[in-house]
Each structure stands twice: as structure tokens, then as C-alpha cells.
Amino acid sequence: MGTPSAFDISKRSRIAWGLGLAVLLAAPFIGLYPVFMMKALCYAIFACAFNLLLGYTGLLSFGHAAYLGAAAYATGWLVRSAGWSPELGVLAGTLLAGVLGLGVGLIAIRRQGIYFAMVTLAMAQMIYFVFLQAPFTGGEDGLQGVPRGKLFGIISLANDTVLYYVVLAVFVAVFLCIIRIVHSPYGQVLKAIRENEPRAISLGYDVDRYKLLAFVLSTTLAGLAGSMKTLVLGFATLSDAHWSLSGEVVLMTLLGGMGTFAGPVLGAFTIIGLQNFLADQVGAWINVIIGAIFVICVVAFRRGFIGELLAWQQRRQAKEDRK
């Protein structure tokens, strides 16, 4: 999975990132539908969380939707039926996802590579069926009518624009958090594990502990995405825990660029945008399109948008250096 590795944050690049941020900040005022943007941001959080595991640790979790779904249901139920305020509900949902991730991780870590992926998929399916049966989730009908409530008891989130900025703030926080993790010594060990696990073991690292921690971090952040999504849309349903969503997040990460920071965000916006825009026009063909993008990505576009861009830049740089 050799994408060009993460870059350090220099002053100039901070200005550059500001550019993207500016667009996001201005979104409600330049005519973008806030509910769509919020949904895309939540899935961007999901994709970034997933990328932490796949792009930076090299572990493919093929059932990541289970954690998003678990947090979505937990937050939904707590806010709607137990009357919790939104920030506590989100916190609880996020923590639950992390605990769930710990449980699954302990079982799945025993296997490597492709087996790991299959085990995570199977465990996620089990969690899906539990949700299907459990009475509090509402089964096929989903958990409906989750109120947005008041943030910290004072700021009403009923207005789409207000909620949008809250979601944006959470997204930026998650993004910075991931950058921090990747650049920390812990992140360096993860990178070493990804590139050559036997060597990392021989260097004395308890590889399983590192991988497990990465898994739990990833599932926790995925849960955060799910909790926020429930607040935005007002419901949590089985689709949030379905394996097709697990597949989509892989595609978002792959398409945008594994192991890059902006990649998953780009991938998430693209896929959510495609689904939103095309679903009415093309009906069942949306799955064909998504499948085709998968196939093309795997065969010819493994580095994704950002990855290809960075590779191209590096080639140009190398050419210039040679002159």
C-alpha cells in the first residue's frame, strides 16, 4: 500500500488547508444544502477514522459500519427515550463504539491480513442481527424521532445552520486529532507495523497491543460519526450497521487516497454526493456505478485521487532535482 507518506505541517501548508476550510465555513451561505453537507461531514469523519486503520496501520476492517451503527442507536435512544442532552448522548455513543471495538478487536487480532478482514465482517454481521432483533432499535422501522435538543442545555440545535457549525467543529477536531496521532511516536510504530510487521516484532514491539489500540481508536471515531449523524438526521436505522456501508467506507478511503489526510474526506464527499445526486436518476444503477468505481480503483487507481496527485508531484520534483 505504498502511498507517499504523511507530510509535516509547515506554516505555508497551514494556509493552504485554510483554503479548504474556508469553503466549508462558507457553505450555508453559498447555497449548499446544510443537511447534505452535514451528512457528508459525518461520513468524512467515518472515512478518516477508517483510514487511520487501513491507510496508516494496514488493517482492513471490513465491518466498520457496526460501530457507526452502534453509536447511532445508542445516541438515538439516549437522546430520544432517556432524555439525555445531545453532547452527553454523543459522548456515550462514541464510548460504546470504542468498547464494542475493543471486544471485536480482541477476537479479530488473532488473525492477520485477509482473515482479519473476514472476521471483522462476520462479527459486524452478528452485531447487525442483534440490532435487527433488539426491541429498542425498532428493527426495520428504525429509531425515529430523535430530537436535536440543546447543546450544553443552552444552544438549540434545531436550526440547520447552527447544527452545521457544530458538526463542522467536530469534524475539524477529529481531523486534527488524526494528524496528531499519525505524527506521534505511536503513529510511527503503526507505520512500521504496516510496512514490515515481522521486523517490528523483531524490534521488540508488542505488535498486537499497538494494532488493538489503533482498532479501538478507529472504532471510537467511527462511533462519533454515527452519533453525530443521528443528531443531524433524527434517526438511526439498520442501514447504519449494514455491510454495504462497510464496503462504501472502504471505497471512500480507497478512492480518495489511502494513507493521506485529505483523501478520505474527498472520497466521502464524492460518494455521498454521487448517491445523493444520482440515486433518483439512475435507481438501481447506483450500485453498479459504485461497484465499477471499486473495480477501477483496485485495478488502475490504487493510490486514489490524493495519492496519485502526490505521486505525480513527487515525480515532477524528482525530474526537477535531476536537472
Binding site: 488473525r111 473476514m118 461497484g291
Partner: protein, 294 residues
């Protein structure tokens, strides 16, 4: 008459249905194990190939008037050919890189196949008639067993054992096994390894399609019939151990039976019992029951 408080009819009836399900698990996990064992590809498209086999049978009957027995021959050939094309054009690029890409590619292919069939046929499902020869039911006293389901169990046992025999006990199987362990050496002996690999994928696809035709008269043929099944089959394969073909057959049958039993005593858990067993097996024997640690 009662067994553990359940009338014996219900008990044996569910067990028999479980055996039928187990036959499908066995056939599909067998195909998956063959493809993984010999190609190193986790074929997520296996469910879609199974679905296509069922649809080939349906279309063959609906448009060309080819009956069930013809479909049993035709579907594996058609889908097998599709498998060969997939292998030649797409999969062969992936052998040298991380196996997750194979999983992702076949996942994408499954989505494409499902989308195309969904567009054509909708989601609600088509029905396929039971062939005349196998219609009707036999009253076994404790339940009425449709003859067709008995046939399914029989046919899948024959197919599974036949495949196992070919791979483990014949020369062709020996070449296949050697070819995956050391392709260069086997190629040096004059055996055309790429062709062998291509035909193996085709054969795996054909096996899946055969299962699809067998399933057609029992369940509604829908574009999603494969994806619902494939994840359970993955769990079966993890439990049985990827390395062993006999392992997947036995595990598939056993799990079908266990699922049937669960339906009698604790129906709500029947959809998750396979995964619970997988979790337990992984704690005790990470390589799977019959698996060889690679």
C-alpha cells in the same frame, strides 16, 4: 412425542431444513476454499456468481424453455465462462499484491452484478418451479418432506465429495495443489500454470452457479440472495479453516444443522449462532478447526 419439550415433528423437521441449508453452506464454502486455496483470492463475488446461476436457470426457462435439468448443465458453464473472463481480465493483475485488493475487487464485481440484476428484475424476486420429476412430497410421519429438498441434500453431497476427490486424490488435483505452492517449478515441468489457475476460478464459479440452480426452486430468486449468504459462508470458512477442503464441507453441514437446532429452541438467535461459534473457535483455535496455519 416430545424431545426436550419440543414435539418431535418440529425438531426433526427443523433439523432436516437445517441439513438443506448446510448443503448450500458446504457447496459455497467449498468453492470459496478452492479458489482461496489455489489462487489466494478471497472471492467476495462468490455470492453473486451463485445468484447468477439461479438467474441463468430462470432466464433459460422463461425465454428459451430450457428446463431444470438443462439448466443444471448450462448455468455452471455460462457462469464458469464469466468467471474465466473475470480472471483473465481483472484478477490476474492482483496475484502479486496484497490479497485485500482481491477481496475489494471481487466485492466491487459483486456490487456490479447485483446492481445490473436489480435494475433488470427488481428486488421482489422471481419464482422458479420445482421440476416435475421431483415434485410432491413424501410423508415421513414426523413431517412432510418435499422431495425436492431431499434431492438437494443428495446432489450437494455428491458434488462436494466429488470435488474433494478430484482435488485430493487425482493427478489433476495434485498439479493444482503444487501449482499454488510453487508455480515457477510446476511451470518448469511443462504444466501451463496460468491456464490452470484460470480454469480453477472458472470451476469455482461453476460450483457456485450449480448451487444457485439447486437453490432456485426453494427460495425466491432475488439479486440479493448471494450477498446475504456470502457472509455466513465467510464465517463457515473461517471456522473450518481455509486450508482444508474437507474441513469446509464438514463445517458447512454441521453449521446448517446447528442453525436448524437453534431455530427449534431459540429462534431469535438462529441468525447469529454461526458468528458466535466463529468467535468461540477463534478464541480456542485461531487457525480454524481443520486449518493449517500458513
Amino acid at each position: 412425542m416430545e424431545i426436550f419439550g419440543i414435539p418431535i415433528q418440529a425438531f426433526l423437521g427443523q433439523l432436516l431444513l437445517g441439513l438443506v441449508n448446510g448443503s448450500f453452506y458446504a457447496m459455497l464454502s467449498l468453492g470459496l476454499a478452492v479458489i482461496f486455496g489455489l489462487l489466494g483470492i478471497v472471492n467476495f463475488a462468490h455470492g453473486a456468481l451463485y445468484m447468477m446461476g439461479a438467474y441463468v436457470a430462470f432466464i433459460a426457462l422463461d425465454i428459451f424453455g430450457i428446463n431444470y435439468w438443462g439448466a443444471l448443465l448450462l448455468a455452471p458453464l455460462v457462469v464458469g465462462a464469466i468467471g474465466v473472463v473475470i480472471e483473465r481480465t481483472l484478477l490476474k493483475h492482483l496475484y502479486k499484491i496484497d490479497p485485500i485488493y482481491g477481496l475489494l475487487l471481487t466485492f466491487g464485481l459483486a456490487l456490479i452484478a447485483e446492481g445490473v440484476f436489480r435494475d433488470q428484475f427488481g428486488v421482489s424476486g422471481q419464482s422458479y418451479p420445482v421440476p416435475e420429476l421431483l415434485q410432491g412430497a413424501t410423508n415421513l410421519g414426523f413431517m412432510v418432506l418435499p422431495n425436492y429438498r431431499a434431492w438437494v441434500v443428495l446432489a450437494s453431497l455428491v458434488v462436494c465429495l466429488g470435488t474433494w476427490f478430484i482435488i485430493e486424490r487425482t493427478r489433476l488435483g495434485a498439479y493444482l495443489r503444487a501449482g499454488t505452492e510453487n508455480p515457477a517449478l510446476v511451470q518448469a515441468f511443462g504444466i501451463n500454470v496460468p491456464v490452470m489457475v484460470m480454469l480453477t476460478y472458472g470451476a469455482g464459479a461453476g460450483l457456485a452457479a450449480l448451487a444457485g440452480v439447486l437453490a432456485a426452486p426453494i427460495i425466491q430468486i432475488t439479486p440479493l440472495m448471494g450477498s446475504n449468504l456470502i457472509i455466513i459462508v465467510f464465517a463457515v470458512v473461517v471456522i473450518g479453516g481455509m486450508g482444508s477442503i474437507l474441513g469446509s464441507i464438514l463445517t458447512g453441514l454441521a453449521l446448517g444443522l446447528i442453525e436448524g437446532l437453534t431455530k427449534v429452541f431459540y429462534p431469535e438467535a438462529s441468525s447469529i449462532v454461526v458468528f458466535v461459534i466463529m468467535a468461540i473457535v477463534l478464541m480456542i483455535r485461531p487457525a480454524g478447526l481443520f486449518g493449517k496455519e500458513k
